[in-house]
């Protein structure tokens, strides 16, 4: 019933939808647009133009996240993805069709990564853009509109919309979607799931997750790139107020010279944080509340001495599974000394556990990863936790966003 109802509905009957890219006229024909094969040249060339537009944009230079995005979209980078994901298997692959994306409200460029994932896999994309006005969104959309002037065909594949929270509109876009991608965490997912998908449609949800870092003290102390490592760790954490799903909340120290490594690592980081991080007055109160709450509810907690409220460290003497319920952000770290990474099994045997930022011997973490834990989707070098890839949050987006015509003739 609902399905029919939705099919009969038109944009004009819905609460106001603003098109930031695309228009109602183009949208009217959306169901007649054919999906493309993955990594279609039209898409690759369009992305390369978009990348150039962004690199040339004076305003964009002020936003490292936009620059990173532009870099990721250039031809050579997309070709590398193609090499990794396109297999000559004799089958025919196509985009699923229409992908409805719900972008998160407070990571400015995230919607663009979601869009590019939908495009390179050959899909038609409808993206709900967050209502918060980020300068990055304006810059990127301007560049998209500019690139479309020379890649007119792409107008059929990109519809960026903004609307007030409305289940009616969610219903409408969900009903026409072949795949729905929901960013924004548990509450947003619960909200969006009130809107029914068609029976064949799939859904990719990015739920609330947490991440950690593992650092081998000996390897750290031997490194002659301590400043760069601090910078990398800063990007993993403070750059997103340590509140991204990828931001390490816990730092696990291994190796023989833990105390020495800690003292150096944190003092180099602290200098950087003092120089770069924009501290808000309530943050100190928040972190004090979190640390005392942790101390009052968990045995053996030690709040490390700190010069100021920019960087707070909580030393744990056991990895209670509940610790992540007590996590905080903006420079609030749990720390744990560990001689065998299998000790992390309990903590990581949890579907909420996402990324491990890693500095250490590859072999040291293998037993843990092979132990059948339900968490940990990626292990990446320190500084790379935010690097987007078509394998993200444990999903192979390439596979999830394409369909296969199985050829056995």
């Amino acid at each position: 019933m609902q399905q029919n109802l939705m099919n009969d509905m038109h944009l004009a009957d819905l609460p106001a939808i603003k098109f930031l890219v695309g228009d109602t006229e183009g949208f009217a024909d959306i169901k007649t647009v054919s999906p493309l094969m993955p990594f279609d040249d039209k898409v690759t060339e369009f992305l390369n133009t978009l990348s150039k537009n962004l690199m040339a944009d004076r305003e964009a230079k002020a936003f490292p996240d936009v620059v990173t995005l532009a870099f990721w979209m250039r031809r050579s980078s997309i070709m590398k993805l193609k090499e990794r994901f396109v297999k000559d298997d004799g089958d025919i692959h196509f985009g699923q069709g229409i992908v409805f994306h719900i972008a998160p409200s407070n990571v400015p460029v995230n919607y663009a990564y979601s869009l590019v994932s939908g495009l390179v896999t050959g899909n038609i994309n409808i993206i709900r853009i967050p209502s918060k006005e980020f300068p990055q969104v304006g810059i990127i959309n301007r560049a998209i509109n500019e690139a479309m002037k020379t890649h007119k065909i792409m107008k059929n594949y990109i519809f960026l919309v903004r609307y007030e929270h409305s289940q009616e509109v969610n219903d409408f876009f969900s009903a026409m979607a072949d795949t729905r991608i929901v960013w924004g965490g548990d509450n947003t997912i619960a909200e969006i799931r009130k809107s029914v998908l068609s029976p064949r449609a799939g859904e990719i949800t990015f739920a609330d997750r947490y991440s950690l870092a593992v650092i081998n003290s000996d390897m750290y102390l031997e490194s002659d790139e301590k400043e760069r490592l601090a910078e990398s760790f800063y990007n993993d954490t403070y750059l997103t107020d340590q509140n991204a799903c990828t931001s390490p909340r816990l730092v696990v120290w291994t190796g023989n010279r833990k105390d020495e490594a800690k003292s150096e690592f944190w003092s180099v980081l602290h200098r950087l944080v003092r120089a770069k991080y924009e501290f808000q007055p309530i943050m100190g109160v928040d972190k004090l509340t979190s640390s005392y709450l942790m101390a009052a509810t968990h045995a053996g907690v030690k709040i490390e001495d700190h010069e100021d409220n920019y960087l707070i460290r909580i030393r744990l003497n056991s990895l209670d599974e509940s610790i992540m319920e007590y996590k905080d952000n903006c420079g609030y770290f749990f720390e744990y000394d560990c001689d065998d990474l299998m000790e992390l099994k309990k903590l990581c045997n949890n579907t909420k556990c996402q990324t491990v930022g890693y500095l250490g011997d590859r072999e040291d973490i293998m037993p843990l990863l092979r132990s059948g834990i339900r968490g940990i989707d990626r292990v990446v070098p320190i500084g790379k936790t935010m690097d987007f890839d078509l394998i993200w949050d444990g999903y192979n987006l390439y596979e999830r966003l394409t369909r296969t015509i199985n050829l056995l003739i």
Partner: protein, 364 residues
């Protein structure tokens, strides 16, 4: 010094050094008491390796963020000893502070408040008009901040009436009669700042236009609860006073700063417009970045210490309010101790992150 002995000292009579000595001694005692009796408090002190024997000044004592009282049930007495549980005001769905009082702490709160307020109103009870509605204190099991404030101040009233009915309509006739009956006596008006403005002042203005005029030149108004809700009205403290005076002749108006977590130790505004710390408590203004102590005239986060709390570890607290120290021992009003001003609540952090519900955890 016992609290009874402290209560014998006039509330604004001690100079800085004397006050420091007495307050440090008492607050160190309280710290030890709570460390012994409250397991969560003990765990917190242990987590920072706090050494009570090294304390020379109460400024060195740890302070608990007030939000902890929303997250934890902190008390230093057995359940059986609890005679009252106070809660902070909070709209539905939000967690509220829970403050557990025993007989001693509850009684010391009341005695302390009498000492402090009498310094402004004079001793002896007065006919009292409560600028609120009767229903706000009806549920005596759960004391809201508004209810607790009213009950707390009610001890100053010889004869009391509520100014509003439960629909917040001003009882014009009732108040007229009341003022007639006590003509020539000093009348105490008490209410929350926003209520006073919204339901009392505005109604007086309306009545005046119709020719109904109240003369409250012999009254004293004590009001508290903060200015947050008046921001939309764009009323400054000066204007608040001036306009009340214009409409009904009310000349003696005192704001106060206080919180349910340290009931009793309120900070009254003097004739010069300054909030004052009595000998029973103090404010310490701290820098947000590192919690070091601000200089006079520097804006920071307000820590409050109180010599009262024995039943819960609330003798040293970090508020979420911003304030500024104006001076110490030298207010023109003659009262000793620190005097300061309040800027209101700290802003919630605006942070980035993947999850759209990022700020929900502690939001008020």
């Amino acid at each position: 010094m016992s609290y009874e002995a402290l209560l014998e000292i006039p509330p604004y009579s001690l100079e800085k050094e004397e006050k420091k000595k007495i307050l440090t001694e008492r607050l160190v005692e309280l710290t030890k008491l709570h460390k012994e009796k409250c397991p969560e408090y003990r765990a917190i002190l242990n987590s920072v390796d706090f050494d009570i024997d090294a304390v020379e000044d109460y400024e060195q004592l740890p302070f608990l963020p007030v939000r902890l009282f929303k997250e934890l049930e902190l008390k230093s007495i057995e359940k059986e000893g609890v005679v009252k549980t106070m809660t902070s005001s909070g709209t539905s769905g939000q967690s509220v502070s829970k403050i557990y009082l025993d007989r001693v702490t509850s009684s010391n709160q009341q005695k302390t408040m009498v000492k402090i307020v009498s310094d402004y109103t004079g001793t002896g009870r007065m006919p009292m008009v409560i600028l609120d509605c009767p229903s706000v204190v009806k549920n005596r099991l759960m004391f809201s901040a508004r209810g607790a404030g009213i009950l707390g101040f009610s001890i100053f009233g010889s004869k009391k009436i509520y100014a509003f009915n439960d629909d917040m309509q001003l009882d014009t006739d009732g108040i007229k009669e009341f003022c007639e009956a006590y003509r020539g006596e000093k009348i105490l008006l008490f209410g929350f700042t926003f209520m006073v403005w919204q339901h009392f002042y505005k109604e007086l203005v309306r009545l005046k236009e119709k020719g109904i005029i109240f003369d409250l030149s012999n009254a004293i108004l004590i009001h508290g609860g903060g200015w947050k809700k008046l921001v939309n009205e764009a009323v400054s403290q000066e204007e608040f006073k001036q306009r009340l005076k214009d409409v009904c002749g009310l000349d003696s108006i005192h704001d106060y700063y206080g919180m349910v977590e340290q009931t009793g130790c309120i900070y009254m505004q003097c004739e010069c417009g300054h909030l004052h710390a009595s000998i029973f408590s103090d404010v310490i203004i701290r820098k947000p970045e590192d919690f070091s102590i601000c200089n006079k005239g520097e804006k920071g986060i307000i820590q409050v210490v109180s010599a009262i709390p024995e039943s819960y570890p609330g003798h040293s607290l970090l508020t979420e309010d911003e304030g500024e120290l104006l001076g110490e021992d030298d207010c023109p009003c003659g009262r000793k101790g620190k005097y300061f001003r309040i800027y209101g609540r700290l802003k919630n952090a605006e942070i980035r992150g993947c999850s759209d519900t990022y700020a929900a955890k502690f939001n008020e």
